[in-house]
Amino acid sequence: MKLANLCTALAFAFSLVFISCKEGVKKDEKPIDVQELTKDQPETHGTELKESDITLSTPLDQTMVSTGKGIYELKCQSCHKLTEEKLVGPGWKDVTKTRKPLWIMNMITNVDMMLASDPEAQKLLEQCLVRMPNQNITTEDARNVVEFMRNNDGEK
């Protein structure tokens, strides 16, 4: 019983310390999270696309094909050939036949998410050893690139 009393006293003492400690941790009164501000900037990167975001149509939209070609030459050609040959990344020949458009577009616009979660993407990283860079391509332009890929794969 004596021990119990001692413990009660200790508990009291601790609760005091607890209170005094708590005071030092006072919530910062500043409502602005500076770190969030940096992240908040508009950046065409990072929103996961869903199946419903994408519609394919035939015949190919030739305007989209040529816009897609422009994006390819500016941002993709350094690493991807239009043949089957692997350069830094895999060649694009027949990519639309082996991958779903959703997978391709997420790989373009959400490469960090894909490399973190998608087993196929991870397999490619093991083969190529270079993380595909985020090239800040908008969803719309990623769709144009898919149209260009379909054209490259012989679709009409």
Binding site: A11, V34, Q35, L129
Partner: protein, 664 residues
């Protein structure tokens, strides 16, 4: 099982308490580990600082950016001095930024950064900073944290009382530290003809409110004195500018003694709204001068340098009611205006008191013509007529004053090595705290604006002696952070600084970080040699000039094999970084280059000029660790003797040609 007996519950309770005790201690634990006051400077790993601190680099010519309260160095922005690390002044694009009427000047002495203001409050858009030696003002864009513009100041030598702004950044000012024969006068005169031939000027430079571009609106010609520091009026005193001046003795030698003869020098009060009227009325004289105006474009990724040839000068002696002199004891240095704009503090380096002037009294003195004669035709206001009061025995060697927005002023004392806190209205000294050692400037976040953010005062010291591990005869310079949230100032952190820190400014991070650019959009580039994609990688020979349009992306260059370059060629590597992701720069360096590396931000094109002097094989590589295959990011350039018939050829990932196999 009887564990739910009340007695046992006690033990559990204690254990739970203990657990919470630990929890409550733990998050703070990391902070309190640094202890009492010092914990206030602690910013946890991965967390942002609360303030940006822009610190002049002094004789480094640059401006450094620190986080506060941690004192962590975030970036050194090259301004007036070349920086081989960043290719500043070495790349073809940045060379024009350092052009002056004296040609390319690779160094200067940068003293006083001042952030742009809107309605007297720091707006986080630009920082202006003076080049002291070859008089210039630079504007740094806080979207890119780069120097966007440099304007040379004619009729000036030693641009010290600069680069302070008016409350809506209508103007940024410059003022000559050395009076000289003006640029259109014959300077080949005896030095001791100072009194006849030497004149001073202060310059008002218009700042475009949308893009920040600078243009000299007018200069005011003054008697020959030394201008030291300045600050704009604000609130009630908006429309006026105050400059401290010394050497009213007009000595031209041994100023240490000869410029300290008179009891009082002056604070020069300039009614710039009046000056604008005179300018509009055509009272200015157009003077033929030469000065460089350099601008950097983030679209062209290149700078241009233009030599301007004219400036309009207003004569302070001839144009009445524009300029007045207020006596100020003993070689005034700091000239600081409190947040209300009512009080103007003069700090005589050698004075044993600090005068505080009242703007209202100054206006009355002018209206009453309470003059004490004139100085070379400029009316001198009666000292007492403009005086609010004197801070008695503030300390020895008062230099500069900043304000906290609660009616308090903080003055740096060089000789007695301390910061002295005093009340602006009552002039009573409230607190003093030592600095280690010999403080020069000091800074309160927003401390010279209408809305200081307070919280800290930072001392920028001239001497460190034993404060840090010794590093030979040349020791680091330092800053010291004091908490001013309570009645007493408390030292919480020492941190080393680059160059020699003079003035500094600080502002809440949220004003700035949200606008920080992450990369340049490659689609928007209008660089004349941009390669928008590897398909545009190319080599163009124009006589002996060879332009190589090269791309870089993780992790190869295109082209990375180049042949057909000859001794005597002038080779330009125009390297475009094709990345479009945050924090992925590429570097470029080539063996034996007599300049520097290039450091190319995503979406940017930068150019290195290279003069191959002998035949041979010259490797180049990426200097910025960009990926796991960074070490593979390299290439070769083959240099043949002049007159060689090796054809121009280039590429990346090409198979060996049959002819190549045949070559010895």
């Amino acid at each position: 099982m009887k564990i739910f007996q009340p007695k046992n519950l006690q033990y559990l309770l204690i254990a739970v308490f203990a657990f919470f005790f630990l929890e409550s201690c733990k998050p703070k634990g990391a902070q309190s580990a640094a202890g009492g006051d010092a914990s206030k400077a602690y910013v946890a790993p991965g967390k942002y600082d609360e303030f940006y601190n822009f610190v002049s680099g002094g004789f480094s010519g640059q401006m450094s950016v620190y986080g506060l309260p941690s004192g962590r160095l975030l970036r050194v922005i090259p301004v007036f001095s070349t920086d081989p690390e960043k290719g500043w002044g070495f790349s073809e694009e940045t060379k024009p930024m350092l052009n002056t009427s004296h040609g390319f000047v690779p160094w200067d002495d940068a003293h006083h950064p001042e952030m742009s203001q809107t309605n007297g409050e720091v707006d986080g858009r630009w920082v202006f900073i003076n080049g002291n030696n070859t008089p210039r003002i630079a504007r740094i864009d806080l979207k890119t944290f780069r120097t966007a513009e440099i304007l040379e100041i004619p009729n000036s030598a030693g641009n010290h009382s600069s680069a302070f702004v008016t409350q809506n950044t209508e103007y940024v000012v410059a003022g000559t530290r050395f009076s000289i024969p003006l640029d259109n006068m014959n300077g080949d005169v005896p030095i001791d003809s100072y009194k006849q031939n030497f004149k001073g000027t202060v310059s008002f430079i218009k700042v475009d409110s949308t893009d920040g571009n600078m243009k000299i609106a007018f200069q005011i010609r003054t008697p020959g004195v030394n201008f030291d520091l300045s600050h704009a009026g604000k609130g009630n005193s908006h429309g006026w500018f105050f400059f401290s001046c010394y050497n009213s003795e007009q000595a031209n030698t041994l100023l240490e003694v000869n410029a300290s003869q008179r009891d009082k020098d002056f604070i020069m009060a300039v009614n710039w709204k009046k000056a604008e009227e005179y300018l509009k009325a055509g009272k200015g004289t157009k003077q033929s001068v030469r000065y460089a105006h350099n601008k950097y474009s983030d679209i062209n990724h290149s700078a241009t340098s233009t030599i301007e040839t004219e400036v309009t000068v207003l004569d302070a002696k001839e144009l009445a009611e524009m300029v007045y002199l207020i006596p100020c004891p003993k070689s005034p240095h700091g000239c600081d205006v409190d947040p209300t704009g009512e009080y103007i503090v003069g700090s005589g380096k050698l004075a044993a008191l600090m005068p505080v002037y009242s703007f209202t009294k100054l206006q009355k003195a002018i209206a009453d013509k309470a003059f004490d004669g004139d100085y070379e035709g400029i009316p001198v206001i009666k000292y007492e007529a403009a005086l609010h009061g004197e801070v008695q025995k503030p300390g020895l060697g008062p230099l500069h004053t900043e304000f906290d927005g609660n009616g308090n002023a903080y003055t740096s004392m060089f000789v007695s090595s301390e910061i002295v806190k005093w009340n602006v209205k009552s002039l009573q000294v409230l607190d003093r705290v030592p600095t280690y050692y010999s403080i020069g400037h000091l800074c309160v976040p927003g401390g010279d604006s209408r809305k200081p953010f307070g919280k800290y005062v930072i001392a920028y010291n001239k001497i460190t002696k034993d404060r840090y591990l010794p590093t030979g005869p040349e020791l680091t310079q330092s800053a010291q952070l004091y908490d001013i949230s309570g009645d007493k100032m408390k030292l919480i952190l020492d941190f080393p600084t680059i160059g020699e820190p003079h003035y500094a400014q600080a502002a809440p991070a949220e004003l700035i970080n949200k606008n920080s650019v992450k990369f340049f959009k490659i689609e928007e580039s209008q660089h004349p040699y941009v390669a928008k994609g590897e398909g545009q990688a190319n080599i163009i020979r124009e006589g002996n000039k060879v332009h190589i349009k090269m791309t870089s992306i993780r992790s190869h260059f295109n082209p990375d094999n180049i042949e057909g370059i000859k001794v005597g060629d002038e080779v330009y590597f125009h390297v475009t970084n094709l990345e479009q992701d945050w924090d992925v720069p590429h570097g470029f360096s080539i063996k034996g280059a007599n300049n520097a590396e290039l450091l190319i931000m995503p979406g940017e094109t930068q150019t290195l000029k290279w003069l191959p002097e002998k035949a041979g094989m010259f490797p180049f590589y990426c200097t910025d660790f960009c990926s796991a295959l960074h070490q593979e990011m390299q290439g070769y350039i083959r240099v043949s003797p002049s007159g060689s018939s090796v054809p121009l050829s280039f590429g990346t990932g090409r198979k060996p040609t049959p002819s190549a196999a045949k070559e010895p």
